[in-house]
């Protein structure tokens, strides 16, 4: 009975969506705003990666909201998982020598790569979200290989709060200097240089710290619980 109802529902959804999708041609330019961002993005923001200039500059306020959603999800996970009483530490079987050595060798390299990805977010593919995810994957490797290690929650919370604070403070400084939130008040410099694009690298580094420490905290909470 439930199955039949579900299938009928899905058929209705399919027919409705395919009727509307048939009018959207695949592969044709659709929006004027995307074209404008591509044509004038470098003069407007100084960033050669147009996706970054959309994320941090044109739609920076939107990104602040999405970072907040991520923050709330991480907080909710912490609250849900830590209300129960702590049981005594279970005996952990150590990882094999290969995994132990390999993860200790790879961990600093992964951190450097993640930092590279979010520092160069305005020049190359990448940015704060991707770099943060790479850094969190390094912490996951540490949890798999060196099982007795734990991240320092004070440092991680500090990095997270500092990242969010820098984002908001830079937005408010733009309000002071330019008249609207997240105004790009720093000099834009020459395109394709590391120190260019005004506030974009600073905001993306802040997002990288925030996303990295939040995802690492999520992994930490889930592993402590399991």
């Amino acid at each position: 009975m439930r199955k039949a109802v579900a299938i009928v529902l899905l058929i209705i959804v399919t027919v409705g969506i395919s009727l509307s999708l048939a009018k959207i041609p695949f592969g044709a330019p659709k929006t004027k705003v995307g074209k404008r961002y591509i044509e004038e993005g470098i003069e407007d923001t100084g960033a050669t990666n147009i996706v970054t200039s959309v994320v941090v500059n044109y739609r920076g306020f939107d990104t602040l909201g999405e970072v907040t959603v991520l923050f709330i999800a991480a907080i909710g996970l912490g609250v849900v998982l830590t209300t129960s009483k702590r049981e005594e530490m279970r005996k952990i079987q150590p990882a094999s020598l290969i995994l132990y050595t390999g993860c200790r060798l790879l961990f600093p390299l992964i951190l450097v790569f993640g930092t590279y990805v979010f520092v160069h977010g305005h020049l190359t593919p990448g940015g704060g979200f991707q770099g943060g995810a790479i850094i969190a994957s390094g912490f996951l490797l540490i949890y798999l290989g060196c099982r007795e290690r734990r991240i320092n929650r004070v440092v991680s919370n500090l990095a997270e709060s500092l990242g969010g604070l820098i984002f908001v403070v830079i937005g408010l400084l733009g309000l002071v200097f330019g008249g609207y939130f997240l105004f790009n008040f720093l000099p834009k410099g020459t395109a394709n240089a590391l120190f260019s694009a005004g506030i974009i690298p600073i905001v993306y580094i802040a997002i990288g710290f925030k996303v990295g420490s939040e995802l690492a905290g999520i992994i930490d909470n889930l592993i402590e619980e399991s």
């Binding site: 579900a6 969506i17 470098i42 147009i50 996706v51 959603v69 991520l70 593919p125 991707q130 394709n192």
Partner: protein, 120 residues
């Protein structure tokens, strides 16, 4: 028929994923499977947004060197949206899994039909 498939194959794939995810969420009784369905649904929506922004023979919207023309670049707006949506999807999945852990500790089952106060 074949040209229709060739034109719309990415839309069909993305909506296939979305419908599979919906079906799993509606039908399955195991909470872990419902969360897996949520993940598939999330992936389908992301894929759909990216394929809407695609322009034929388009490249990534990055001016990584001189001599790159802006004619054949894909739409950057859906890419920017999906970029953040992926990370948020991971966080939401983690939150759902943590709720599943709590439910399992409380009811000793992940079967949604056996969990009390669940009417259907």
């Amino acid at each position: 028929m074949m040209s229709f498939l060739a034109d719309y194959i990415y839309y069909i794939g993305a909506f296939g994923l979305i419908l599979i995810g919906f079906y799993i969420i509606l039908i399955k009784h195991n909470l872990i499977k419902v969360i897996i369905g949520l993940g598939i649904l999330d992936t389908g929506v992301n894929l759909f947004l990216i394929s809407v922004g695609y322009i034929t023979k388009g490249t990534a919207p990055i001016f990584s060197g001189p001599g790159i023309d802006s004619e054949h670049m894909v739409d950057p707006v859906p890419q920017a949206l999906v970029l953040t949506a992926i990370v948020i999807g991971v966080a939401v999945l983690a939150l759902a899994l943590s709720l599943a852990i709590r439910l399992y500790q409380h009811y000793d089952t992940l079967n949604l039909r056996k969990i009390r106060e669940q009417k259907w």
